[in-house]
């Protein structure tokens, strides 16, 4: 745990040093999304249950939650690869699994921080408050963990993590546009509905909709939490395998 907190401390120092960039990425960008899609477009579609703003805002929080681990973990892997800092971390007196878990933990924490920031923006701009903070925390934690593992897997399968980053960016585009971030699952017809159910962003977005607006359209809470949990359980061994395969013998 101490190693994980130290690695997190390092990220905080870097985020503070890059304060302007951090602000743009974590505050300004989602604020613009919330203003445009939540406020402006939301007023154009007032008939949706709770207004379109109430449907899209949890989706925008979801985008922020699932993209945060990419920033956090790819920062470790890219710096680790190009500047060999990974060797410094691997030489720390901890096991390979501890290094892996510390990086996943950093991804999860960045999701939680992003959810807090963008959730605050959603309250400030749209007046949205979560109806169920417990469900919100469960979905953000589950989504953050799931995407941290996914980032680790996708970035470490190719020989160079930058290739993985490109692949993940492509996956994110598909998951963002088809994974119920800008609309709810109820708004989709087949076959897009079935396709959306295969994408993890759907479960995070719908889970956040359930937490913010239980009376609005959303996937039932139990299957979505089950989906997030099962996907996380399935991804964990795959992500750890990719980490061990790439870094168990350090040849970078």
């Amino acid at each position: 745990m101490r190693f994980a907190l130290t690695l997190l401390h390092r990220n905080l120092i870097i985020a503070r040093a890059d304060a302007r960039y951090t602000f743009i990425r974590t505050v300004l960008q989602p604020a613009i999304y919330l203003l445009v899609f939540g406020l402006v477009v939301g007023r154009l579609m007032p008939d949706e249950a709770g207004g379109y703003g109430a449907i899209v805002a949890p989706g925008i929080i979801a985008i922020s939650v699932v993209s945060a681990p990419l920033i956090a973990i790819s920062s470790y892997l890219l710096t680790g690869y190009y500047f060999r800092t990974m060797e410094e971390w691997l030489l720390a007196p901890v096991s390979l699994r501890t290094v892996f878990l510390a990086m996943v933990f950093a991804g999860l924490c960045s999701s939680l921080v992003n959810a807090l920031l963008v959730g605050s923006l959603a309250w400030a701009i749209l007046g949205l408050v979560p109806h169920s903070p417990v469900l919100l925390l469960a979905v953000v934690s589950g989504g953050g963990l799931l995407f941290s593992l996914l980032v680790m897997l996708v970035l470490l399968i190719p020989e160079r993590p930058e290739k993985g980053q490109e692949l993940f960016a492509l996956l994110m585009m598909v998951m963002t546009f088809l994974g119920c971030t800008f609309y709810s699952l109820d708004m989709l017809d087949e076959p897009l509905r079935s396709l959306a159910l295969l994408l993890p962003t759907t479960y995070v977005s719908e889970g956040l909709r359930a937490a913010y607006l239980p009376s609005g359209p959303h996937l039932a809470t139990r299957p979505l939490l089950l989906g997030l949990g099962l996907a996380t359980l399935a991804l964990y061994p795959a992500a750890e395998w990719a980490f061990r395969r790439r870094l168990g013998n350090f040849t970078w």
Binding site: I13, I14, L90, A92, T251
Partner: protein
């Protein structure tokens, strides 16, 4: 007592290429062992394996009595490593690099600060502590790498070409630190390209050639291999191009 015990070690890369072949070697506490070899001889792979970063294909490595496969975290707690290439965190400044190195090792904060200040002073780096390491010269980066290796007061130093890029003044400081470390009972495993460095520092010198140990010698024995051949001559022959044969 043995600091490093290597038995029948074979190391390979994922592409199947063999880096080190059936190597056996033993290094005692209080000994400086130098490893000489041409580029690609397998020195860095061997060093990575001793530092637990590469897993043996065959054979065993015991460092400070512990198996590198089974007890990697315990080994890493007791070694100081300077790899061939600098692995500094380019997003942090000099002081932060050193402090975080101590923190990763789990050192108490107050002790870490004291040691970092000592080493900043020792290597004449006090004036640059807030500078990002990204902008530093190669020599200064190397100095920080050296400081990192000593910071955690290891029992074994593993140094891969530690003096590469250092000016003579800092190299002298490094040599003195290594000798002092040896006097305090520590063991040093050192790879170098410089014959004079090996001769000046080491108690024994091994010559690694194409992944195999070609021989072990002592500076006191006139740097002659078991075959009677001088180390310098061995390297001259190894790098000489094969003579052209006319048809």
């Amino acid at each position: 007592m043995t600091a490093i015990a290597i038995e029948g070690l074979t190391l390979g890369y994922p592409n199947g290429r063999i880096a080190v072949r059936d190597l056996s070697l033993s290094i005692s506490h209080g000994e400086i062992f130098g490893l000489l070899g041409l580029n690609g001889a397998g020195k860095s792979s061997l060093i990575k394996a001793i530092a637990t970063l590469l897993q043996p294909h065959c054979g065993t490595i015991r460092v400070l009595g512990m198996d590198t496969r089974q007890q990697a975290p315990e080994i890493k707690r007791r070694i100081g490593v300077v790899p061939q290439e600098n692995n500094l965190d380019t997003r942090l400044d000099i002081r932060q690099n050193l402090l975080f190195h101590c923190r990763y090792a789990g050192m108490p904060e107050r002790l870490a600060v004291t040691r970092v200040e000592h080493w900043l002073q020792r290597l004449n780096l006090q004036g640059h502590t807030e500078e990002s390491v990204f902008r530093l010269s190669g020599g200064t980066k190397r100095k920080i790498m050296l400081a990192k290796a000593f910071l955690t007061t290891p029992d074994l130093l593993i140094l891969d070409e530690p003096s590469a890029g250092l000016d003579p003044g800092v190299r002298d400081v490094l040599w003195e630190q290594i000798r002092q470390f040896r006097r305090s009972g520590g063991a040093v495993f050192l790879s170098t390209h410089y014959l004079e460095e090996a001769e000046a520092l080491c108690d024994r010198i091994g010559v690694l050639h194409q992944g195999s140990l070609a021989g072990v010698t002592r500076p006191a024995d006139g740097l002659c291999l078991d075959s009677g051949q001088e180390v310098a001559q061995f390297f001259r022959q190894a790098v000489e191009p094969a003579p052209c044969v006319s048809p």
